[in-house]
Every structure is written in C-alpha cells, then in structure tokens.
Subunit: 346 residues, 4 copies
Amino acid sequence: MIKVGIIGATGYAGEELVRILLQHKEVEICWYGSRSYVNQPYADIFRNLFEVVTDTCLDDNIEELCKKVDVVFTATPQGYCAGILTEEVLCNTKVIDLSADFRIKDVKVYEEWYKLEHKSPQFIEEAVYGLSEINREQVKGARLVANPGCYTTCSILTLYPLVKEGLIDAQSIIVDAKSGTTGAGRGAKVPNLFCEVNENMKAYGVLTHRHTPEIEEQLGYAAGEEIRLIFTPHLVPMNRGILVTAYANLKQPVTYEQVKAVYDKYYQKEKFVRVLGKDVVPETRYVQGSNYVDVGFKLDERTNRIVAMGALDNVVKGAAGQAVQNMNLLFGFAEDEGLGQLPMCF
Amino acid sequence: MIKVGIIGATGYAGEELVRILLQHKEVEICWYGSRSYVNQPYADIFRNLFEVVTDTCLDDNIEELCKKVDVVFTATPQGYCAGILTEEVLCNTKVIDLSADFRIKDVKVYEEWYKLEHKSPQFIEEAVYGLSEINREQVKGARLVANPGCYTTCSILTLYPLVKEGLIDAQSIIVDAKSGTTGAGRGAKVPNLFCEVNENMKAYGVLTHRHTPEIEEQLGYAAGEEIRLIFTPHLVPMNRGILVTAYANLKQPVTYEQVKAVYDKYYQKEKFVRVLGKDVVPETRYVQGSNYVDVGFKLDERTNRIVAMGALDNVVKGAAGQAVQNMNLLFGFAEDEGLGQLPMCF
Amino acid sequence: MIKVGIIGATGYAGEELVRILLQHKEVEICWYGSRSYVNQPYADIFRNLFEVVTDTCLDDNIEELCKKVDVVFTATPQGYCAGILTEEVLCNTKVIDLSADFRIKDVKVYEEWYKLEHKSPQFIEEAVYGLSEINREQVKGARLVANPGCYTTCSILTLYPLVKEGLIDAQSIIVDAKSGTTGAGRGAKVPNLFCEVNENMKAYGVLTHRHTPEIEEQLGYAAGEEIRLIFTPHLVPMNRGILVTAYANLKQPVTYEQVKAVYDKYYQKEKFVRVLGKDVVPETRYVQGSNYVDVGFKLDERTNRIVAMGALDNVVKGAAGQAVQNMNLLFGFAEDEGLGQLPMCF
Amino acid sequence: MIKVGIIGATGYAGEELVRILLQHKEVEICWYGSRSYVNQPYADIFRNLFEVVTDTCLDDNIEELCKKVDVVFTATPQGYCAGILTEEVLCNTKVIDLSADFRIKDVKVYEEWYKLEHKSPQFIEEAVYGLSEINREQVKGARLVANPGCYTTCSILTLYPLVKEGLIDAQSIIVDAKSGTTGAGRGAKVPNLFCEVNENMKAYGVLTHRHTPEIEEQLGYAAGEEIRLIFTPHLVPMNRGILVTAYANLKQPVTYEQVKAVYDKYYQKEKFVRVLGKDVVPETRYVQGSNYVDVGFKLDERTNRIVAMGALDNVVKGAAGQAVQNMNLLFGFAEDEGLGQLPMCF
C-alpha cells in the first residue's frame, strides 16, 4: 500500500486519476490538491464520488506533500511542475508529471513551442518519457516520469512499428487527429461552452500545436533521424476519445501480412495495445473508459501510401490511465492493476 | 465460481451484462445467446471486447442451456421468457428475466398493457420482483427473478419512503421521466437514428407506457392501497441515464429534516442508493456507468407539494447491474460484487 | 424601412435577433451593441455572418442610440434595461426588452424573485407584456414591450386555452419543462462547458426559478384568480428548444373533441401556434429555427387529469423571434415578416 | 413560376429540397415522391412542415411526372436515376440528379467503384457536372445535371484554385474529411442508431469511398493530368456539416499573400464561397443551414506543405442547396434565389 498525492485533482485528468486510483488495490490517496476549490469537499465538485470520497481539497504545498506520500501526480498547467520541482522533492517522493514540462529533451524546443521559460531544466535529462510500452524498463527506475500527451500517445503508438522498422518515409508523415472535448480542459472559456462545441467540428492549432515536437522527437528516436511532420488536431462534439488518422509514403511495396507482422512484433504481448484485424478500423467508443489503444491500417496500392489509424481514451491511456500504468511500473505492481475497466462502448 | 448463460447478449442490456460479469470474480459466462448474430464472434459485434471475449454467439436453446449453467439471464423482448419457461428449466437453473413477463402479478393487467397473451402464467405467482433494496430477502430464495424496468426502478426508489411512510397522497403522484436513448433498444428503426434523436426532445407513450402499471403495483404495496398515477417518459439525446422528477401532494406540512429522516430510514444502509444533501439535485452523469441511484427532494410550501427526484443509469441499475445484484443475492455473493465501477461523470 | 439598435448583440438571443433582422425587408440594423467586444467586427465573433455583416461592435450609449433608431432591443442581463430607461429614451424610440425587467407588474414580486432592486418602477405600468398572440392589440400601441421569457411563452401558450375556458383547476398545475443549453446563456461558466452538459440531464432552480411568477401572473389573468403552480426546468444536452409537459386536474370530464375545440378557438387563426392532431406529441426539432409553437394534449380518464405539451425554439419564439413579431406589431408590418424560416428538423 | 417534382422527397436531402423550395419565389412543388410513404401526408413524416405542406406522398411514375413539371429532382439511391432516364423524359423535363449516376464520365470507373451496372450510359456524355461555381455556363444549357456529392463539393472547392494554378503537386493530395450523420442517410440501420454514433468517431470506407474517383476526375480537369489521391471520410456525432482538411506538397515556396490571391481570383465574386482571413479556420457551425462553403489555408514552411480546409453544410451546398442553385441557373433565376438563409451557428 503506497500513499499518493495529486496536484490538480479537480481537472478532468485529475478526476480520472482519482477515479482510477480509488479502484486500485495498492494505493491510498492522501492529498486531493486543488487551488480553485481549497477546503471544499472533493465530492462537492465531483458528485459522482459522493459517499465514496470524504476528503477535502487542499492547497498546493509540495514541501509538505513530498514528505507524506510515495508519489505525486501533477495534473497541472504547463510550467507548474517545473516551477515547484527541487532535488529535495525528488529525494522524498517520485513525481509523475502529466504536463509537458519534462517531455521534451531540448529545452529550447520546449520554450519555443510552449512560449514559457523552463524553471528547472536541470531535471529534464533524468526525466523518463513515460510511454509505458516503449520505455518500460527506463520508467521502472525513474524518480521523475514525464507522462506523454494524449495526442502524442495515440500518434506514436499508431506509427511506431512502421517508423521503427523503416517501412515508411518518416518525413512524409501527416497526422490528422480528432479529439473529444475533455482534451480542452475544464477551464471556463466561451469556446468550450456546450453550444459552441456541440454540432460543430473544426481544426485548431493548425501547424502550431504543441504536441507536434513531442511526436517528432519520439518518432525521431525510432527512426534514428530527425523528423518533421504535420500534425493537425480537431475538436469533436463528444466528451472522450482521440482518433488519429495518419498518412505516410511507403518506402517500398509491402503486403498486408508484412505490415501486420510488424505491428504484431511490437504489440502482440502488450495488453493495452490491440492490433485490429484486416479492414477493421478503430472507433473511439470501443476504448472509452479503458486504457486500451486500438490500432489498424490500410495499404493504398494506388498511391503507394499507408493509412494508419489509432484510437484511445484521452483521459485514460492519454492521461490518467497511463500515469497509473507508469506508477505501477515504478512500484513493481502488476502493470494493469487498477486499469481493468472494460471499455463502455455506449 | 458459477456458470452463467445470457439470452439476448447483443442488445444494450445484454452487452452490459457481459461487461459487468466479465469483471465479476465468481462468474464464468458460458453462453452468449443472440439469434441475430448466431455463429459470429461476440467481439465482432461489440468490439470493445476484442481480445477479451473470444466466444461465438449461440442460438437459443433453453433445454441445453439450462443444464449447463447455474443461472440464465434473459435480456429479451417481452413475451420471450414466458414462452420458453417450463418447470424443467426452473428445476435445472435459476432464471433472471430482464423483460416484463413476470413483473406484474395480475396477468390481465400484463396482457392489457403489453397487448400480449402470457404463455406461462403459472410461474407469475412464484416470481420475485427483483428490486433488490426492497425485496432483498425474497430474492435470496427465488428460482425466478423478475428484474424491474429501468423507469420503474428509478420511480419506485425515488418515491418509496414517501409512500411507505404515508407522507404523500399516493393518488396525486405524477412521474415525469427522462431517458437516454439506450432505453429505446438496439433495433434498427428510423425514430432511433442519430439524426432523429439528436438535438431533439419529446415525450412518448404518453399515458400508455407499459411501466405505468408496474410502478402502480409496487408503490401500491407500499401504500397499502391501489394507486393510479401519471407516468410520462421522454426521450433525451444522450446514451445513458434516467432522470425522474416526481410530484405529489403532501398529506400534511412536513419539514426538510422530517422528510430527510424518512429517506435515511430506508436508504442509509443501502450502498447503491445515495440520498443527496439539501438542495442538491440528482444528475444522470453522476451515476453513469455505476449501479447507484441518487435521490433528492424539495418541499414547496407555496403549493404544499413535494418534488422528489431520482437518477440512475438505465443500463446498469435499471437493467444489467440490478440483475447482477439479484444474482449476487441468489448465490450468496457479496451484494456489490462486480458492481464496484465508480460513476464516469464525463 | 426602420432603423434598429441592439444592446447585447453578442449573446445567443442577440445574435438571433441579428440573424432574423438581416432577413427582414423593412429593417436596417444600425447599432450592434456589445460591451464585451467593443470595436471588434461583429463577424469576428459570429463568423457565420462573415461577408454579411461588416459593422463593428459598439459600447452602450442609450442617449446616443435612442436618437438614431426607431426601436431598441435590449438582450441584456436582468436589471440592465431598468437601469438605463428614462422618459427621454421612450420619447425618442420604442424599446423591446428581452429581459424580465418589465414583465412583472408587482415590483415586489420582481424584487423578491430576482434579488434585484428595480431601478425604474415608474415604467412597469405602461409596459406591455409582449406575448403577441394574447396581447396583440395592446402591443401595437406600446412604447415599451416586455418580451416574455422562453419558458413562460411555452408554458403559457400550452395552458392558456385550458385556463381561460376553465377546463382545469388552475391551482393544480404542474409544469415540467426541458430546455436546450442556449437558454443558459453565453457566459463562460464551468457548469455550461460542453463536457459538463453533454451526456447529462438535471433539474435546476427547483421551486425557485424566476419564470415561475411570470407564468403565474399571466395565467392568473386568464383564470381570473391568483395562481400558485409548480414549475421545474431541466437542462438538456441540445442547443435549442424547450419542451413543456404540463399536468392539471380537469374540473369535470371532457372529451378529446371538446378540448381540441377549445385549443382551436384560440389558435386556429394563429400562424405561429400549431395545434397538433390527436395523439401527436410536440418535438422540439419540428420547431427548430422557426417561430412556431407546437401544442398537443392527452386526457387521462384513469386520473381525471390532462397532460398538455408544448414545444418552441427558445431562441426564436422564446426570445428573438417573438421580439421581432412584437416589432412588426409596433410598426404595422406584416406580423410574420422576417419570420418565414421553416423549421430545420435535423 | 415553374413546376417541380421530387423523387425521394422523404430522405434527408429530399426534405431539404422541399424546405428550400418552399421558400423559393419562383417554384411550386407538384410531386412529393416517396416509395416508402406512398399516400401518406408529407407533413406526417416531416412534421416541421405541419400546416405548411398539405400534399400526400406519391409513388414513382416518371412518365407521368415528366409531363407535369419543368424539372425533376432525383434524391434517390445510386442507380435509380440511370434506371428511369429516357430520351422522352429529357424531352419533357429537366433532370437534376442528386445521386452519382451521371457524375463520372468513364462508365467503367463508375461501375467499378459503385459495383453497379449503369443502365443508361448514353446520357453520361451530355450530363453537366453541376458544381455551380466551376461549370456555371455549361449548367445553364443542360437538360441533365449531375449534382455533385457532398464530400466532393467540399473537397474540390477547397483545392481547386491550388490545383488549377499549379501551386501544389496534385499527386500528393490527401483529403481527410469529417461528416455529420445526415450524410449516412435516413435508412434504418444499426450503425446509424443514436447510441452507435453518439460519443464516437471513426473513419469508414477507407480507400474505397465512392467519392474518391469523382474528386480525382474533377481535380484532374483542373490539373490537366490524371490524379490519384487519398480520400478518407469520418463519421462525426453531429447532424450536419462536412469539414475537409486537405494536405499537399507545394511545388515551390509561396507566401500567404500569393496563395490568398489565388483563392481570391476564383472566389472573390462568388457569393457562396467565402475565403476566410489569415489564420481563421473553417468551422461547420458557421455554414450550418446555409449554402456557403468556407475555405481557409495555412502554409507549413517546415515541411513545405499546405493545409487547406473547407466547410459546408452537406445537406445544403453538399446536396439540396446546390441542386437549387443549379435549378436557378437552368431557368435563369437569380442564382441565390431561395438560398438566402443565413447560417444558424447554434
């Protein structure tokens, strides 16, 4: 039984962390951190947890918190975690950061895309990029885990085997992604009001979205070269789910079976990545509420390209679920402990 | 470990049974019954269960099925269960019927509201109405459980303490209910198409909906008198959830505290019924995916009436979850085994 | 050709006024008032009007505005119109107020329900309650029109013939209303975010909603007695539409034909009120985008009650459309000018 | 005043034709054709038109119909129009076919992608592809107009200036398209049920969608070469709207201003095509209910590609609206007659 603290427990990712951890056998949540709701009962904000959680929200206090708990999750805006992290904190507790602060190794790239000064670049080097399926072993020994972004997790897992095995021209990649609106956060902004999002679809952050360099960096490691790709996110009138439709030029003609074998090589033993059968496309509903990523692909002989598709629940595998998966790795629990919820497809 | 068969496993309630039972420690599903999809892999229809369920759908065969399993769930259209039930079946297995066939004691009332001839009225008498919180002890010893309707569960649990304790004039009850569209079933009908339901709201079955006599009968037992009430269901553009707003005349002036005490008397020890605090109203999202029913009320001094409200997930507490709760009672498992999923409020 | 100014042009009702008036043959919009967006092109906020509207938003300035235009629409928060109204304004221009400031004749009732001090009670007396179908003649000669609320328009038109003709016990009325989320306004608040409203249903303002006294007052005039009723609004995950389901005790047994005749007596000649056929229920989609109100009813012999139902588009007949209808009456235009848009049912 | 007949008046495109034509000053609808609802009042199926349309649905009878009306719209499944068309029909009336039967000049391509034998290939040659903005002059003199598909209209108008002016490598085009669910038609199929579409997103028809050859053919004319491109449609949980996000390699570096000038060259005088300002992206809500197409673009120096985006209402500009625009051209009416409805953005 370990003790856990959450900073930013009243955002969507924060609530999902709470919900998942409450169903985790090895964990006790000791700190429901929320600046906006200090001293309010947590279950007053998320009334789904009425009679389940009786704790009250606490203000941030990393010095106190790090001495109390075995691991801290920061489900906070960009820049926050970098602003509070110290050697002392990391000596006292593990940190799993759900923001982007420690995802990108080149601090200049971070500062350029995020328009923020990085407050603790000295920890970037040691931070482990927590894409569990790919960096499993490194995560196990980490003090600081940079939990991947929602779009990035979906984009990378969809393309990783193709890039790693050199089937596609990595410079030709185009990622067209679609996300449910929890991805836009729980802040009170007009563009996220029900009547602005409902019955609408749009692209946003075209060519400037901050998950772009993260995808490029990670796929670059797989490719063994620097990559430049296009990433276009879209907002969809649904709560949860990311769907990635990725396009790339094939380096040389391949058969369905060859590509399937490449996907299976990397994912057959992975519980949370499901490679769909021939001609089956991922749908976000089939992963909803679960930690699964579903991937599929189709080959286009007419244009010598591949269309690779992936779907995940942005709040689970794209945020809180993967964070718990990383926690399980850090503490030697079964990797899927607490993550057994089957997808609710309606 | 018991063995379970499901007839009608590919409707919405059927799938939810599968999903819940797969997460139940004491159960093995042996029969995925579905006439429409015989011989097709179950996970081809509900692809959320890809790599989880590898079984194939089987045709109905109650004679064979009843010898193989400890309990059969029938998540089938009205009339089906009554049509297959025999003494031999009930000697071999327990039956939990999610249809209305054995809910109503007076077969004439059933036949009048359902416009069906009842094929096995001889089993009506022994069938136990499976509203777990109210008929817990009778359920334990039953062979045949009539699992309550979704609207009825919500309506009855919302009003039961008020009627039982005589706080309201039971003849003055008006139940205005709103349901998500899973309640309309998975049949291919134009009125249930996305573009017909989305961005729309309507009443349906006004004064003729078949849950009316079921609510009347059960609340009549609580009242100790025959009841006539108005029940109006509405279709809401969301997948899951029922919200009941019920109105009744108070027999005499009461205080908030008095009414609260009456609710607490019946529900304080009930895990799955949550009596909300003062001025808090139930919302369907706060019970979504869970077996909870949330109830609340407000007193109107101006008109001497009470507004009582309840919310549940129609597919869980309104169907599959309550069926599993009844199964737990039948077999002596912990009543909440398999039903621990916390509500997903977004 | 008259000149029109709108204060509050960037809320939902304000935009709908703009959209309707742009399609009105006799009107030129001269003032797009919006405090939040002063000096911004109107079409930057509502980009549906790109290349259609080239004007820029102006700050409030009633002194200047009232001299420029023939009529001012105030689509503003409660208290605003009462705060700016003067004799001088009313000598210069007509005012159609979409807020509640002049709807309620008893200023104490207004102040009690709205928790606001009324800043210009001297104009309450002369203000005409702009429910066009009922107060048509009075509207024609008014200087100040109090445009009715969305819920109230739907509730009153649904019940008016029944109350006026004495078919029902007016003290027994219960109005259960459901509204799309444009009714909650365009303010940036967490409870109105997409992910908080979507896949959810709840009541709100139970027994305290401010449209209650407005419905009571107007139906009271029809009944010839003071009325106390229950009004419960609910929030529905759709953009537009109000559905009212109203319940009342019949004073004496009546036939379908008798009640139908009563509805026809008041509405047969009304273009915008459609009395549906037997057993047809109103659906919000069938009035969407239009100025129609659809009403229907069913009689319950079992309980001697009536269920009366009504549907309208809260932004059109419930706000901007009715305001334009009133403007047409004020200036002697055809009452349906600019209001010819047929409902978009999907 | 011309007379109009509609075959297939009870599908989504058919209803939209009715709704638009009812608001058209020069038209009288004489034939509401619907095989599924013969002899039923049209307003019983689309109750938004209660008290507006009093006609009854008629069965197909092209011989009779073609003698009665000046123009026939066929809003029917693929193959239907080709099956009924004869020289006699075309001598008697104009035909605007909303299906794909006459869109593709090479009958083999049609038969391969549609898996249908073409029943009247002799009329393919004379049929004019009714993309009004591009083929305006040819449409004017046509007997038979092949009204373009919804995806194709959006895809072509988004890319046309770029292809025509040779700014992009036409062989590099990737069109990622997203559509509301009216695009899936009004047939009663499980995958189009509310609970299957809601809270979900998926691609479909990947690499096999039948709008692919239509886009290729038309853009091929603009390019002056045969084109092979990738087109991927997705289903979105909303009623109306198509969003196209298209990607292509730039032939050589260009500035924003250069590209903008190219778009303006083709669209500045086009009422229904709006070229958005710099950094503004199309959103489907801003064209909802209208005949507009909104287009925008962004240049990516990092990859030397362009992202071009377009949005339209699939039922209006993507079907019925464009059909009426073509009718206006055929009969010499103002091109925008009947098409003045401003977008309803919520």
